[in-house]
Symmetry: C2
Subunit: 245 residues, 2 copies
């Protein structure tokens, strides 16, 4: 039997108008769609009557396994992530699993890039990412917390703009407070901090605060936190990191 192709697709922030035509085509032409349930619900109009492998969060390995089985049964499969599939999305895991198969059993695959959450959040805040930046996930589920803290410290020492993915969840509420304390050792307490929740979705929300105060704002697992560098300023409700023209 011919093995079907797997396309790993970034949906963008979560509305059709910010999904690339290439991503949309990949989904429309796939026979099977695999992805976290919440993301599948974001795009009902293009998923139509397709077969869905929709699992809850934290079942990534099972989902990829099912996607590979579908491809080996001859189906074309789109594995979807919100944002960009290559940034804390499904690309790494599924490629890793595909390449571990015997060569004759490997499906062909392609990654289709998307507008990532960090780009979407930055656009909503103004232009906070205009200079060198570091992207760090505060989820310590699969990464040692000491390493995450070290990265925060290195990024702060280098005066990077810092984007925090997975800043807080129901069970994980103190990591962001520890990170704030590390950052306060390197950055001015008045450094602008932007929080964008549900970027690009109907319930999008943005707040601009300071390094000293931002942890008083509502932050959840759909939030992205952007911390300015030493030059970042706030004006008229926008956050801008100048590049010095």
């Amino acid at each position: 039997m011919k093995i079907g192709k797997i396309t790993i697709v970034g949906l963008g922030p979560g509305n059709i108008s910010e999904m690339t035509p290439k991503a949309r085509l990949a989904i429309e032409t796939a026979e099977v769609i695999a992805g976290y349930n919440i993301y599948i619900k974001l795009i009902p109009e293009i998923i139509g009557g397709k077969k869905i492998i929709g699992t809850a969060m934290m079942q990534e390995v099972a989902r990829c396994q099912m996607a590979i089985e579908e491809s080996r049964a001859g189906k074309s499969v789109a594995v979807i992530s919100s944002g960009d599939a290559g940034i804390y999305g499904m690309a790494g895991l599924i490629i890793d699993m595909i390449l571990k198969l015997p060569e004759s059993e490997q499906p062909k695959f392609e990654v289709v890039a998307g507008v990532s959450a960090v780009n979407a959040a930055a656009a909503i805040l103004g232009a906070p990412l205009m200079h060198d930046f570091a992207v760090i996930s505060l989820s310590d589920l699969m990464t040692d917390w000491e390493l995450i803290k070290k990265r925060v410290e290195c990024a702060a020492a280098g005066d990077f703009v810092i984007a925090l993915y997975n800043p807080k969840s129901k069970k994980r509420v103190t990591n962001i407070l520890e990170v704030q304390q590390i950052l306060l050792r390197y950055k001015n307490k008045n450094t602008p901090v932007g929080i964008v929740t549900n970027a690009g979705r109907i319930d999008e929300r943005k707040v601009i605060s300071t390094l000293e105060n931002f942890t008083n704002e509502e932050i959840n697992m759909f939030s992205l936190v952007l911390i300015g560098n030493s030059q970042t300023y706030v004006k008229a409700g926008f956050m801008i990191t100048p590049r010095g023209y």
Copy 2:
């Protein structure tokens, strides 16, 4: 006279299929398009007969000034950047210039995010960005070279995946060599390095090398260089940074 709106638009990597519908609509509905000539030539089919403010590189301030003048003459203007306008693009400069005007003379503005070069390059290489990463421009035109080197050092010390924008130009050829030497102090000489040139364009080219050898490859101002972290591996021509499921 009513002031026209300015939309700051990221085109994505440079082909229509990776431009979001929102970006396309912003360009199609604008009366005037402002952008670096090379980017305007990437999308002739949607620019049609519009008025173009196309300047050469390094004339960013003049281009933004002309865009603002057009908006103050009542025109709607799209200011375009390749990739994402918020990452080393035009968003920061033009917002900065708009917010310096007296409030009554400020055009309304909006940033439309795009697929950035780093996302596009990562998708072509496989999944190199699956863990925390730092984005650094090696252009020392507007940033002190000592600060850039310090950032490279901090990113290496934190075992970040590192994405280098503007790695090399005709006049600037030694920066990348100095960066390589810094990285070799922290990272294994066999660390995978991916180079993607003209990502998403017809003359796209990818090479996967090592930290020890990558500077022997052709690198130019349209290249993006991605340096792995300590876990990144290469298999079957793809570069993957695992996340540890």
